[in-house]
Amino acid sequence: MKSSTATTHSLLPSLTHWLWLLIFVVLISPAWRTVMVSADGDTLMHWRVGEWMLEHRQIVATDTFSHTHTGEPVITKEWLAEILFALAGRAGGLFGQACLAAFVIATTFALLHRQLLRAGNDLLAATAVTLLAAFAANIHWLARPHVFSFLFVLLWNVELLRFNRTRQGGRLLVILTGLMLFWVNLHGGFLVGFVLLGTYWLGAALERDGAKLRVLTVTGLVCGLASLANPNGYQLHWHNLEFLRSSYLTSWLAEYASTNFHSLGALTFVFWIAAFFFTLALARPQLTLTAGLILLTWFYFALTAARNIPLLALVTAPILAAAWSDCARGRWRDISNRVNAMGQTSRAGPLVLGAAVVIVAVIPKSVELSPKDWPIKAVEFIQAHPAQFTGNMFNQYKWGGYALWYLPEHKTFVDGRTDFFGEPGIREFSQVTDLRAGWAEPLTNRNVQWVMMPADHRLNLALDLLTNEWRSAYSDSVARVWSKLE
């Protein structure tokens, strides 16, 4: 009787399993999966690049997608993730891509929950912190390679925290090196790993812990070497740093901008800041030097660029959970311990995974991009009248990825690969879209024969006035397409 009860309990999903399933199901729901694949043009851009690599069975090394930079060497920051997304795309189209992103994101936060519990935190505190972290991080839940950086930041931090507790230097070296080998090929955010490692190193230096310092130094050096195992070697690192050093390019990209606290989306960040402020002010936890450094550096990074908010949440969640756990006492703690004990015996992982597979198989899989945001009808028109649209295109930046995927026979003027186009490329594009003096020169110099822009864009007003040079070929409430007169 006892053993059958135990078996029944082990088949009940733990709270971690439920969290995984909840996040996964929410993310593959029709509303959210559409946002994940269509918030910007990069999902389609990465899919196109990945698909090219699958078709050609090689890693992309020169540009074949834009007419402004054709044949120029490309430093690919995320070739492996692009291939994985392209495989998911082959299996299930945009729905497949959404499922892959949902799987990675759900796994990240389930692992965060598990890590918080293994660190001895109160179950309810760990669950609340995980949910709050997920809420803070959701601003950047998109079907793009950066979701792998969420997972790797978490795994990386887990190992560093474990090392801080157990001091198993060998394990740290092996695991972080292994993680870096993948991370450096999955996403350009691998540099975050070195920032984290550096913070722990600085903490050890300030605490004058020589043994820890030695292990972290060796690990950093070995991970540095491991990060060279990518198709572009050290040039990848240089390329990423050059991009980050360009204030012009980082100000160009919305996700590198500081948070606009007037927007509703900023509430998630406000909640995370408020959680820490009130915890530090009321609970007054005594933090280690390393924890203090992590808080200060990652809050700074998150204030500077909104894209760092998810990383802040993942890296600082253990600090918040520990402080909240210390506040949990009495009956609250008893309930928490009882539920946690049940969860620890759970072996329902495969069951939950099976349930997810069933849900994926059963639900409708269509992903409709919003016809209010994307030039769907315009592209259909262009496809139906290929003779009218020969020669080079000028396109809106955000629509570059869309054009890459749905108009593969045409090359873009610009797309989401800002780092590849660099400052000169983006300035050239902006000269046209900002109607700066000499705005038509890039169009002439690049031999642009047709233009596709959002209907309310100022460039349409200028082309409209140049009736002897440009003709309106297509127009709807979303897009206008112009072709150059002979």
């Binding site: 500081s258 948070t259 007037h262 402020f277 009130f278 002010a281 500077t304 900002d434 100022r458």
Partner: protein
């Protein structure tokens, strides 16, 4: 001994002198009047009120809303700034602004000393506060709000700690509010401070204190109605804050951009608060937690609140750091500094410094002028010299509106920094043209615009060229186009 006291400045006076001299004599004086068009705007309105000996109540400066009823949020400050400018030109505006800023910091220093902070720590905290406040050191009426925030905060802290009676609070705060409501539109800040102390009293379970604060708030509210527009002033400000289309177009109402140097002051303030919570770990009373939390949020929300956070956080940082700083070396240094502080004053030095600065600025050749690379100074000169070169009404850059209505008073602007007055509809029409949206030509026609004055890189210039408008003037700052 008396001479020493008269001439040797103590640390508080030294702070006043350093900031007054730095702001009134260095290039900062030019930044204070050139960072945006509002110093010129307020000066012009103030001068109009002095000339006409009346508080302005009808629009005079724009052709788009000429004659419309006007609610003046800061008429008294504008008159004071205009008085200074009539006496000394832009130098007068600069000196007044420098004196207000220096006085704010001196008051913070006095407040910290009065609260028992040692003189060295008080000086360090004031310098930190000064760094946090720099992003909004502009010669405009809001500087009065900074002073009044310090005074309000000081009295409310003193009342909370039992150093000030309820009677004194009732006698002072409503009077200050009466002044504030006529000096600057941010008098609402006083009510937020009162609200925080009221909530703090409730959380700290001081029912009597909460009742007194509720009474003082009601008295302040009544006092705030004593202004040329009564409750309409309050309604206009609330309406403005609730209209993101209006507040969103003002830089200082936007969230700070942490990529730019202007956010460094806020970063330092946040860093100081974080260190306090992480290292000192004080037991903060509810009022202080609310003050830091609410104003921290407001500072992240709008850059114009960064100085308020600095001024509000200063006494909290000082109080709790004081308990932490118990190192023998620090205590020895403090003892020596306190001794010096007691035996010094510096009133005569202040008088000499002010007289010296007045002599310097009165010299021919010493000029404080708006930086010509920030405004279309040469274009304005051209138009004044060639009035027939432009016909019809003007369309101007938003940031240049204040400068243009001051430098080119014979013309009326399309828009200027008073977007709360211009309202959502007109600002929308302005944006249609400014952001070159479809319908831009219709707006220009509706307002009979005959010429534009815009920055060289403005996208509208290219559309005007394509539409056949002719360039009347151009330099590296501005282009003037006229309708064909």
């Amino acid at each position: 001994m008396n001479l020493r006291r008269a001439f040797l400045p103590n640390l508080g006076v030294m702070i006043w002198l350093v900031f007054f001299l730095m702001l009134s004599l260095s290039n900062w004086r030019l930044v204070m009047i050139s960072a945006d068009g509002d110093p010129a705007l307020h000066r012009r309105i103030g001068e109009w009120m002095i000339e006409n000996r009346t508080v302005i109540d009808r629009e005079q400066f724009s052709h788009t809303k000429f004659g419309a009823p006007l609610i003046s949020k800061e008429w008294l400050s504008e008159v004071i700034y205009a008085g200074a400018s009539l006496a000394f030109g832009w130098n007068g505006v600069v000196l007044l602004a420098a004196a207000l800023i220096a006085t704010t910091l001196w008051l913070v220093h006095r407040q910290l000393l009065a609260a028992g902070t040692d003189v060295l720590l008080a000086t360090a905290v004031v310098l930190l506060t000064a760094f946090g406040v720099t992003n909004h050191w502009l010669a405009r009426p809001h500087l009065v709000t900074h002073i009044l925030v310090v005074v309000f905060g000081w009295l409310l802290h003193d009342y909370r700690l039992g150093r000030c009676s309820a009677r004194r609070l009732f006698a002072t705060l409503p009077v200050l509010m009466l002044l504030w409501t006529n000096l600057h539109g941010a008098f609402f800040t006083g009510f937020i401070l009162l609200g925080i102390f009221f909530l703090g009293a409730i959380f700290e379970r001081h029912r009597d204190r909460a009742l007194v604060l509720a009474g003082v708030s009601a008295a302040c509210l009544a006092a705030s109605l004593v202004n040329p527009n009564g409750w309409h002033l309050h309604a206009q400000i609330v309406g403005f804050l609730r209209t993101p289309e209006l507040s969103g177009m003002v830089n200082e109402f936007r969230s700070p951009n942490f990529h730019s140097g202007s956010a460094h002051g806020l970063l330092l303030e946040l860093f100081a608060v974080a260190l306090l919570l992480l290292v000192v770990r004080p037991v903060l009373p509810a009022t202080e937690i609310l003050l830091l939390g609410v104003w921290g949020y407001f500072a992240l929300h709008s850059t114009r609140n960064i100085p308020i956070l600095g001024l509000v956080a200063a006494p909290i940082l000082a109080r709790h750091l004081q308990a932490f700083l118990r190192y023998p070396l620090w205590l020895r240094l403090c003892a020596r500094a306190e001794e010096m502080q007691r035996s010094t004053g510096g009133a005569a030095t202040v008088a000499l410094a002010v007289a010296g600065v007045l002599l310097i600025v009165a010299r021919p050749g010493w000029d404080s002028a708006i930086l010509p690379n920030r405004v279309p100074a040469a274009a304005v000169e051209f138009i004044r010299a060639n009035p027939s070169a432009v016909r019809g009404e003007m369309f101007n850059d938003y940031g240049w509106g204040g400068y243009l209505l001051w430098a080119l008073p014979e013309r009326k602007v399309f828009i200027d920094g008073r977007n709360d007055f211009f309202g959502k509809e007109l600002v929308g029409e302005f944006n249609t043209v400014d952001e070159t949206k479809p319908g831009w030509e219709a707006v220009l026609q509706k307002y009979q615009v005959g010429w534009t004055i815009l920055p060289v890189k403005h996208p509208l210039n290219s559309l005007l060229v394509l539409s056949g408008w002719r360039p009347a003037y151009s330099d590296e700052v501005a282009i003037v186009y006229t309708r064909p």
